[in-house]
Amino acid sequence: MKQNLRQSLNTGITFGLVHVFLVLIGFNTLIGTLFAKLFGTPVSGSQPPAFTLIIYTAILGIWAGLAATKKAQNRTLPGFLAAGTLSGLTAGVIGFLFSLGLGWFLVNRVDFRQYLAFLSFDFIKATLFNLTPLLGALLTAGIFTAAGAVGGLVNGVRNIRRVKEGFNTIRLAGGRVVYNASALLHGRHRLFVRIGLLTALAALIILLPLKWGSYWNYVAGTVGLYVILGLGLNIIVGLSGQLVLGYIAFFAIGAYTMALLNSPIPHNLMWGFWPAVVLGVVLAALAGLLLGLPLMRLRGDYLAIVTLGFGEIIRILLKSDVLTDFTGGPRGIQNINGPVLFGKAFNSDIHFTYLIFAAVVLAAFVYSHLENSRTGRAWLAIREDETVARATGVNTTRYKLLALALGAAFAGLAGAIYASRNQFTGPEEHSLMASINVISLIIVGGMGNIPGTILGAFALKGLPEILREFANYRLLTFGALLVVMMLSRPNGLIPSRRPRYKIKDELENNPGSAEGENDQ
């Protein structure tokens, strides 16, 4: 009992303090504005209408109620209700005091913006739901308490056995549906099913960009390029287990190959897109090989540091004064020509979206085919235990070099398309932060698998664009996301799974015998 009480109080205090913190950084009105947009309510002035802030506070309160009763098992429904209400009330008391404090600032015209940029009087008014300070503070406490009670109740209802069984039934049914669906994929008519699915997917890929405007096509293209980068780095880090930090250098090589061959300044070579793309991929792969040779004796931290240096060397070389005549120096290279296919020039973002999607499909195709092959297994063995992999007969040097070269080739492809699409590339586009972005996206998404990489690229490159309002908070959100994710899903949003080979018939044909040697 006492323990339950303490849990409710603790949760309430945590959420109360979180509320205070979020208000101080102006997060509440930010969410409020988002809601207002979502509901199509016009936002008059700089602050969102009061009802959106009520929703925001209620969500926080429900969350507090849920959190307070999360681990409770043997409690009655009123018990759940009480625990949720108590935590909501605790958070509400903190919110009440805080709102009163804010109200005092408002009444006495104390301007705090010098220290906390968000605390304008308009903001405080909005936070107090456009009421008097006392009423606003009371409403805050009231919402928190009521919402906490709702949260507790929700968990309580979920815990009733009948409801629980109901949920389980639904879950089982869902599992059966998934099972049957996957059976379709592998069953007798698998060819038709797969062709059907692929056609649907292809239609979606072809039709969707038509609906998007130029801006969203641009965003989708960026996400696609990062998917390619993520897959390439996944070969190096996720499969073969070499932590390479300067990965963006290969991207830079691809981009600069495209730029130097297709821009009037500085060389005016104008080779065209397609030869440049091929050369960019080849050069990046070669750079991967060359970088690999001195790396073969390094593992772990040392490898990471050396590759970090490599990335910086490439960037600094690109902008160095000595090479200005050759690389364009710090100003970068402008007016890069786009591709021409069947006599038609690529001149809108939608064309590039299709090109990038095709490249993503190619990259995913190569990656998925490598993953479960002799090569993929050799890489994974190296990742798990390099010494043993070698002593088991894997030529570790060759496979590590292969991983570097292939991973670099992916980056070269992405870089070449990137430069061509933006019609510009410069040294600062290839900074360390870009490498870290790629590593983050495969860690967030889940190391070593395609859906995870796509999700990670979307989360890191697409989400900030969709949530433009968050722009100021991108790094904050991103950092928080990383921390939360590492705690709750240490293997990424979609962890990798190893293949389950179909072996039933093998066993039936050869029950328990091992005549492997006589077979051939």
Partner: protein, 269 residues
Amino acid sequence: MTSEIIAAQEVTKIFGGLTAVNHVSLAVREGEIFSIIGPNGAGKTTLFNCISGFYTPESGEVLFRGVSIRGKGTDTIATIGISRTYQNIRLFANLTALENVMVGMHHQSRETWGDAVLRTPRFRREERDAIREGMKWLAFVGLQNFANNAAGSLPYGEQRKLEIARALASKPAVLLLDEPTAGMNPHETLDMIALIQRMRAEFNVTIILIEHDMHVVMGISDRVAVLDFGEKIAEGMPAEIQANERVIEAYLGRGGAALAQKYREAKCP
């Protein structure tokens, strides 16, 4: 006269000031079960590492079928037919049991990464064969029902067996087992003895064994060598080793031989 398959000649391995293996010579015959015993720190595992290529000995030679393998990489040595297991189990923990074995079969396949990307007929054939073969090796050690389980999630005893299956999958002529029954209960130990004998019977593989359990050593070895402080102090049939005074001294200390004699007389007069 059976031929020597592994010969260590005056092998010496030095770590800093410590001579871990000191002029040790061994000759292991084809098809033999040869045990290496000795107190802790005697240099048994170091000698193993010299044979399997983990270490290059400072002096001396290691011959495989009369050809020197000293200084060759561990991957080359594995490919020409010497496989090993490890004292502390070293599986590819996140791969499935079947995949572990398939890695063991790595050098028997000619499948390249190009085959994999293009899904060539060779790829399909090699993968199908690899799965079938791999399952046979798993079945041989009794792990066929764990094929799709992550290696790291298997029980301890099964992990030891899986390590042996992975080593066997490379079809070695010589198998080095480093304490295969360490940490096993008597029942599991009996299983392991049977497995070792079955391996030799079915595949005619030469087995070199490091082992502390004297029941195992005396029960299955054809010959035994004893190391102490990096030097070989005895070699011979199990019965000879049991009676060897220097061996008893190495295990029980000076005067140990007399003590052991006394103990034996008291026990069975």
